[in-house]
Every structure is written in structure tokens, then in C-alpha cells.
């Protein structure tokens, strides 16, 4: 999947979790949780949705690698088949 397509998918999922999100105003290099009101339940729901829609499993130990949108996309690109 191309990075841009992946970004669209990820932002789409994120918007279902946080409907007030202005995806266009999101800074890709700043921590997501500083910009969006995501508690641990929201975050878990986000990961479950990624798991269901993109068939990718993210272990808890990797949460630290997923602070920003850039981090998340790089991580997913590596995990997904090209």
C-alpha cells in the first residue's frame, strides 16, 4: 500500500474513534496524544480497528514506537506486505 493510501486509511480509522478530529490540521511529526484527546480505551479501540481493517497486530511492547503519525505510518509500512 502506498504511504498516502495508508495515511488516508489510518486517519479514517482515527476519525471514527475521535469524531471531532480535524485530520487536515494534524501535525504528522507531533505526538498524536498531544493533539487528540485519546485515552487508553480510545487507543486500544484504535489498535483493534487497525487490526481488523489492515490485519496488523501491534504488541503492547511496541506502543512506544507509535507516538506520532509519521512513526505509526513507518511502523505499519514495515509490518504490511508491500
Amino acid at each position: 500500500m502506498k504511504r498516502e493510501d495508508l495515511k488516508t486509511r489510518v486517519l479514517g480509522i482515527l476519525t471514527t474513534i475521535a469524531p471531532e478530529l480535524d485530520a487536515g490540521g494534524l501535525r504528522a511529526d507531533e505526538p498524536l496524544r498531544n493533539q487528540i484527546d485519546l485515552d487508553s480505551m480510545d487507543w486500544l479501540n484504535f489498535l483493534v480497528a487497525l487490526h481488523e481493517q489492515l490485519k496488523v497486530d501491534i504488541p503492547e511492547a511496541d506502543y512506544g514506537k507509535l507516538a506520532t503519525l509519521d512513526d505509526l505510518l513507518a511502523y505499519l509500512k514495515e509490518k504490511l506486505p508491500a
Partner: protein
């Protein structure tokens, strides 16, 4: 004949608007079945019935606002023969109303039995009738109205709490390295769909501890403490657009952690979607609030009447921690107890928090 009355859906709700019946006359209903959807200031609530039977008559019409305790439908016991329809309501069962209100209701073509009375003992006043006549019967209110209504409901419940309940407050720092390590280990083996959050672990710890402190779990009613029938924890859930609800998870002490986590996830999802059940709204025996994720160290909550206690958790954060004569960095959470001094004393409250701390040192037992 079984009368189905609008149940109380929390201290801050005294009336509700029927949005929809889920049953029709002739339907058989089971205990626990959702039979109506009622709009309150906080959410559209699925109202359950607790007596099986066959629906005889639906009295309240969709769009009508009815006070708590009003008969909304009549059912007959399974096997009971359908009676001949009663032509009129006997005067003793008529809604109390002032003569002026009755006259005005007639003039304005308002059904007085459907009007929520604000006078003494629920008496319908002239003002109630005029208000009812101008209120259009519509579906759920728009979001902005819901916001304003929710704010009002919270204001009423919290003002009542601070007026009536002599709160005392206690706090305790609880080391969390054991609980965190246990959870990380357990979650490693779980697929993402079954992962358990610290919030669920904390709820279970509170519930197990409460078994030994029944005076914190229940209600203050009519000048006396009534213990709760089970440990039904109200979970404070913030709404994304502001405001909060605190519906119950039932029998938390008896649930396994995975089951509790599923219940918690489901409750949060439904609360935010505005789809809660009447039993969840009406019977929490204590409330737990967690503001740690918003970054605060501790929260001293306002008790939700008629409950008698509230447990708060702050952020789990690394702090300098002295244990066994050594100082080290350790994850610590501050747990607090807001207690109703009419129902319990600080001494027992302190024992409760100490027991909660010990409980969280044995996460494998949760």
C-alpha cells in the same frame, strides 16, 4: 396486572421522554428485556422490564414526557385472562392537579396524566400545563440541547451532593510495579482484541476490597444507610463533547478480568453512542473515576447521591519510592476516597485505602 412504571435512572433524572416502544400489545416479554427507549437529559436509555408478562396496553405515547414512577404500560401475568378494558381511570388514581390546571388542560387540549407535575407531591400546576402545551412532541433533542440538559443534570446532582453529603477525603500512594508487570506479561499473550487495560484491573481491585467494607458500597436513603445488593461500580465516562455519565458494571467482584474488560469496553462504547440500559443508570452502588490519563496526580471526587463513596485514581507515574530501606524509581498511583461521613468514618475509609493498596500488590489474585 403488572404496572410498568418509568424507573428512576439516577439521582439527576426525574422525568423522561418516551422515544419508542420496543413491544406492542400482545407481545410476551421476559425479565430483563428492553421494552422502551426513553430519552433523559444524559442519554437515550434502553429501559428494561423486570417482570415477565404479556403486554396489555401501552399507555404512554412516543413523544410524551412522563415523571419517574408513572405507569407507562400494563401487562398481564402469563396465564392471566385479558380483562375487559376499563372505561375511565378511577378518580383516586388520577394525577394530582390543581383545579385551575385541570381547567386549563381542558382548554388547551393537554392530557393531564402525561404532564410531569412540579408542585407538592408531584401535583400538576397551571404552569406545568402551559409549559406542556407549548412543548412540541419531537424525537431526541438536538446535540446542543442535550449538552445543555446534561450540564443542568450534573449541576443538580452535584449541588445536591455538596448540600447534603458531609464529604471526607483520604488519599494513598500505591506502588504499581507489580500490577504493571503482571498486566504486561498477561497482555503479551493476548491478541489485541482481548487486551486488558489498567482501568479494569483497578476496578476489580476496588470491588474485591469493597467486599470487606460494605459500609462504602450502597446508598444513604431516608436517614439511614442501605447496603448495596451487589458490587455495582458506576464508571465515570467522559463524553467527547463534554459532560459525563457514570453507568454501572454489575457484580464487578464476581467477574474475571477479561470479562470485566469486555464489559468496560462495551459500556464506554455505548455510553458515548448514547445507548445505555436503565439498570446501568439506576443502580451503581459506588463510583470509580480515573483522571490519570488527563495527566493529574490525584482526583478528589464529588459523591453521586444517593451513593456514599467515590474512589478516584490519578496518573500512574514514576516517582521516588522508598521500600525495604532502599530508594528507587517506581510507578506509583494516588488513589483517593471521598466518603459520606454519615455512612462511614475516616478510620474505616483509611483501612479501605490500605486494603486497596495491598490488593494491588497481589495482581495475580485479581
Amino acid at each position: 396486572m403488572i404496572e410498568f412504571k418509568l424507573p428512576s435512572l439516577g439521582a439527576d433524572m426525574d422525568q423522561g421522554k418516551l422515544l419508542e416502544w420496543k413491544v406492542k400489545p400482545g407481545d410476551a416479554v421476559e425479565r430483563g428485556q428492553v421494552i422502551a427507549v426513553v430519552d433523559t437529559s444524559k442519554a437515550a436509555v434502553d429501559v428494561e422490564i423486570w417482570h415477565p408478562g404479556i403486554v396489555e396496553e401501552l399507555i404512554t405515547k412516543p413523544g410524551d414526557t412522563v415523571p419517574v414512577g408513572m405507569v407507562m404500560a400494563k401487562l398481564r401475568e402469563t396465564g392471566e385472562v385479558a380483562p375487559a378494558p376499563a372505561p375511565t381511570i378511577p378518580p383516586s388514581l388520577r394525577k394530582p392537579a390543581s383545579p385551575a390546571a385541570r381547567k386549563r388542560a381542558h382548554e388547551l387540549d393537554v392530557d393531564i396524566d402525561k404532564v410531569a407535575g412540579t408542585g407538592p407531591h408531584g401535583t400538576v400546576t397551571l404552569a406545568d400545563i402551559e409549559k406542556a402545551a407549548t412543548r412540541p412532541a419531537t424525537a431526541a433533542p438536538p446535540a446542543a440541547d442535550r449538552q445543555a440538559e446534561m450540564r443542568k443534570a450534573i449541576a443538580a446532582a452535584m449541588s445536591r451532593s455538596k448540600r447534603e453529603i458531609p464529604h471526607y477525603y483520604l488519599s494513598e500512594a500505591i506502588p504499581m510495579h507489580r500490577a504493571l508487570a503482571h498486566l504486561a506479561r498477561a497482555n503479551e499473550a493476548r491478541p489485541v482484541t482481548e487486551r486488558v487495560l489498567m482501568g479494569a484491573l483497578q476496578l476489580k481491585a476496588v470491588a474485591l476490597t469493597l467486599r470487606r467494607f460494605p459500609e462504602l458500597n450502597g446508598f444513604w436513603r431516608d436517614g439511614a444507610f442501605q447496603p448495596g445488593a451487589g458490587i455495582h461500580i458506576g464508571v465515570a465516562i467522559s463524553m467527547r463533547q463534554g459532560g459525563l455519565v457514570a453507568p454501572a458494571i454489575h457484580d464487578v467482584d464476581e467477574r474475571g478480568l477479561e470479562d470485566l474488560m469486555r464489559a468496560l469496553a462495551d459500556l464506554v462504547k455505548r455510553a458515548r453512542a448514547g445507548s445505555l440500559r436503565s439498570s446501568e443508570m439506576s443502580d451503581p452502588t459506588i463510583t470509580v473515576t480515573n483522571l490519570g490519563e488527563q495527566g493529574v496526580e490525584s482526583v478528589f471526587g464529588v459523591i453521586y447521591p444517593p451513593q456514599v463513596a467515590l474512589v478516584g485514581f490519578g496518573r500512574v507515574a514514576e516517582r521516588a519510592w522508598a521500600e525495604d530501606g532502599a530508594l528507587r524509581a517506581a510507578p506509583v498511583v494516588t488513589a483517593t476516597l471521598s466518603g459520606d461521613h454519615r455512612a462511614s468514618d475516616g478510620h474505616r475509609g483509611a483501612r479501605f485505602l490500605a486494603a486497596l493498596r495491598e490488593q494491588l500488590q497481589r495482581p495475580e489474585a485479581l
